[in-house]
């Protein structure tokens, strides 16, 4: 017992002699893009040739796509390849961290690829250069023609590992491709990868098309078409190319959008100068009237949990945004600012609603909380609208038109994207003029 007391006493004495731990609060850092080195993938010498693919350049091409994706986010700064000290054939084994740290890289992507028996096998590793350890490593096997998608999937995995958020690179954007003079515009449905590659036209351009939207599985598209001069909502299967009219409405239907489970389409139906919101169940074909008001209710958009619908209505005089339960009850106005509000789109995260605002002849794309508070206008221009969310709710794509001259000269419409922070505004490359974009969800989860 005495011994124990002595030990305790000694402990106390020793404890008193030691110093208290120094604590330093770090509340700031830099927001500069993270310097990242993407080493070209090493091509295995055993690789076979494959039709239409230059195997030797494939490693370089994949790394270029990854770099381009990263650069586009504004969060990463891919370093120039000329500065790389280590060659890809060694880097993919275990990098010499000092060499990479020397060029101020904080993360390194390395990997290798092999084409064998008609299959492409790609391995990649992400290295934390400061800690000198591997952060993630994955391998994919696919048909060689899918190499672009492999590059996007790798980008997604790295993005997720470094930011903590899902990526948005392995996605597509559907839009209306426009060509011809302003008075005789030809509008076709087009689909492309989010980086602008692999554009495919889905309609011939004989009739006017508007507002295409993906379903949650990215297989179907709903859009509005003026087929035989009758504006109606259509459904298109991208794989098979089959089209059908949605519902048998005795008038004009427009502004369609899928429900989050993909089972319903919500849209507007206009008759006698009044338009209300309807849903149609795609399995049972049951049509339901959601709003019943003498005003113009349109642009419905489901919340990601499917419980609410945001829409715009002029029931208070000027067009404003409203939110209601998905059965049409509990309608609540959420915008009260100066100007006209429209095209509400619920974020895939569920925390924000993107919208278009018009005030004093200017168009703004903005976001606000789902109760209408915290409005932030991200970008202002002569004419821009139709925001659509990236699947991780971080980026918004929209289209912007330039002012045309008296004879329609100088007119153009392009797709643009912007971060919800209001930074990193950039134009997306499209083959033709483009409008009404809609971002798909991730193609592989």
């Amino acid at each position: 017992m005495k011994k124990l007391l002595v030990i305790i006493l000694l402990n106390f004495l020793l404890f008193n002699k030691s110093y208290a731990l120094i604590e330093v609060d770090i509340t700031r850092g830099n927001l500069d893009p993270l310097p990242i080195a993407v080493s070209p993938l090493h091509v295995d010498i055993k690789s076979e040739n494959y039709t239409d693919i230059k195997v030797k350049e494939l490693g370089e091409n994949i790394s270029e796509i990854i770099e381009k994706n990263f650069k586009g986010t504004g969060l990463f700064n891919p370093l120039k390849k000329e500065a790389f000290v280590q060659k890809p054939d060694i880097a993919h084994l275990k990098p010499r961290f000092e060499d990479w740290r020397l060029i101020k890289a904080q993360a390194l992507v390395s990997g290798k690829l092999l084409i064998k028996d008609g299959k492409l096998k790609v391995e990649f590793r992400l290295w934390d250069l400061a800690a000198a350890k591997e952060m993630t490593a994955l391998a994919f096997t696919t048909t060689p023609s899918n190499w672009r998608r492999v590059a996007h999937i790798i980008s997604d995995k790295i993005y997720e590992r470094l930011t903590g958020e899902e990526g948005y690179f392995d996605t597509r954007i559907i839009y209306v491709a426009e060509s011809g003079p302003k008075s005789q515009r030809v509008k076709k449905l087009a689909i492309m990868d989010q980086d602008g590659a692999k554009t495919k036209y889905l309609t011939l351009g004989n009739e006017l098309v508007l507002t295409p939207r993906f379903n949650p599985t990215n297989q179907m598209v709903t859009y509005m078409s003026y087929f035989r001069n009758m504006p109606r909502v259509y459904l298109l299967d991208i794989e098979t190319g089959t089209q059908e009219v949605v519902g048998n409405f005795p008038g004009m239907t427009f502004a369609p959008r899928f429900s989050p489970d993909g089972k319903k389409i919500v849209m507007s139906f206009a008759k006698d100068g009044n338009s209300d919101i309807f849903t149609m169940n795609l399995e049972t074909r049951v049509v339901e009237k959601i709003t019943n008001h003498s005003s113009i209710d349109t642009s419905p958009s489901f919340s990601p949990d499917g419980k609410f619908i945001a829409f715009n209505s002029d029931r208070s005089g000027l067009q404003q945004i409203y939110v209601m339960r998905s059965d049409g009850s509990g309608v609540k106005r959420i915008t009260f600012g100066n100007g006209i509000y429209g095209t509400p789109v619920w974020s895939p995260r569920g925390d924000l609603i993107a919208f278009t605002k018009m005030r004093k002849g200017k168009f703004y794309i903005g976001v606000m909380r789902t109760d209408g508070t915290g409005e932030r206008l991200l970008t202002e221009n002569f004419y821009q609208e139709a925001p659509s969310w990236s699947p991780n709710g971080r980026v918004i794509v929209f289209y912007r038109e330039t002012k045309a001259g008296l004879k329609g000269e100088g007119f153009s419409a392009k797709l643009w994207s912007i971060d919800i922070t209001g930074y990193n505004e950039r134009q997306l490359k499209t083959e033709t003029d483009a409008s009404d974009p809609s971002w798909s969800s991730l193609l592989t989860k």
Binding site: E23, R28, N30, Q106, A131, M135, E165
Partner: protein, 269 residues
């Protein structure tokens, strides 16, 4: 006839009433003119030759002397202090005055007595005076407590300079160094707890011998992916910053150090 007379009378009496009531107000008060003083303008030379009156001269000379004395005393070291008996206990009022002078000497930004110490020696001295002051003046003690409660910055700085041995400038240097190295991940949620605590064991040259994330378990919890990313970014910052800017002395005090990374304010701003 009578009726018209009555009309005329009432009308006239009304008019008279109105004039009686309103006219006095229209009267202006007579201007009170001061009596006229005649002034004769005469030419005078630049300097008068008229001698001072004997009394006035005395007064002027005295004031001049006093002024000279004052100037001398300002330049010379404080003579009043030297005259004081060394063993005399200072009165509270005097103590306050002395402290004020000390304050002026310090950096004007660092007003609080707790913060402004920059070396160990100075610290001891001021702690003593504080204690004496607090003993003498109870109100001062209360004020000090209030200050502690209200001013968080003072508190944390005090904590660092008193309890740990890193002075403000040393701490600032370290902080500024890490600010530069830390790339804050931008995909962080705004409404979550974003505090990452990292404990470091340092070598004498400021390089890291061991680093440990204190809430390590949280990194692998579901839904806390962002936390892992944040913790890794903080760890990366520390490693990139090596060797850390540590003071040349007092290794025992800073061989273990804890860094609290919290980007909440930055993301909100």
């Amino acid at each position: 006839m009578i009726r018209s007379l009555i009309y005329s009378l009432t009308f006239h009496s009304a008019m008279i009433l109105i004039t009686i009531l309103s006219l006095p107000f229209m009267l202006r008060e007579p201007i009170d003119l001061p009596p006229i003083v005649s002034v004769e303008l005469i030419q005078i030379s630049d300097k008068t030759n008229i001698p001072y009156a004997p009394k006035a001269r005395k007064i002027i000379e005295e004031t001049k002397k006093k002024e000279e004395e004052r100037l001398v005393s300002e330049q010379a070291p404080p003579s009043a202090k030297a005259k004081e008996k060394p063993d005399r206990i200072p009165l509270p009022n005097e103590k306050k005055e002395e402290k004020k002078i000390v304050k002026k000497k310090q950096n004007p930004e660092e007003v609080k007595p707790e913060i402004r110490q920059s070396s160990e020696f100075e610290k001891k001295e001021i702690v003593d005076t504080n204690q004496i002051a607090a003993l003498i003046d109870k109100a001062k003690e209360e004020e000090a407590i209030n200050q502690k409660k209200t001013d968080k910055i003072t508190q944390s700085n005090q904590k660092n300079s008193f309890a740990t041995g890193l002075t403000l400038s040393e701490e600032d240097a370290l902080r500024a160094q890490i600010f530069g190295c830390w790339s804050v991940p931008l995909g962080l949620p705004y409404n979550e707890d974003l505090l990452v605590r990292i404990k470091l064991n340092l070598k004498k040259d400021g390089t890291i011998s061991k680093s440990e994330i204190l809430d390590h378990q949280r990194m692998n919890r579901p839904g806390q992916k962002f936390y892992k990313v944040l913790a890794e970014s903080a760890l990366r910052a520390v490693r990139l910053c090596q060797p850390l800017k540590v003071p040349p002395t007092g290794y025992d005090k800073w061989k273990e150090i804890q860094l609290n990374f919290n980007p909440t304010e930055m993301l909100k701003g």
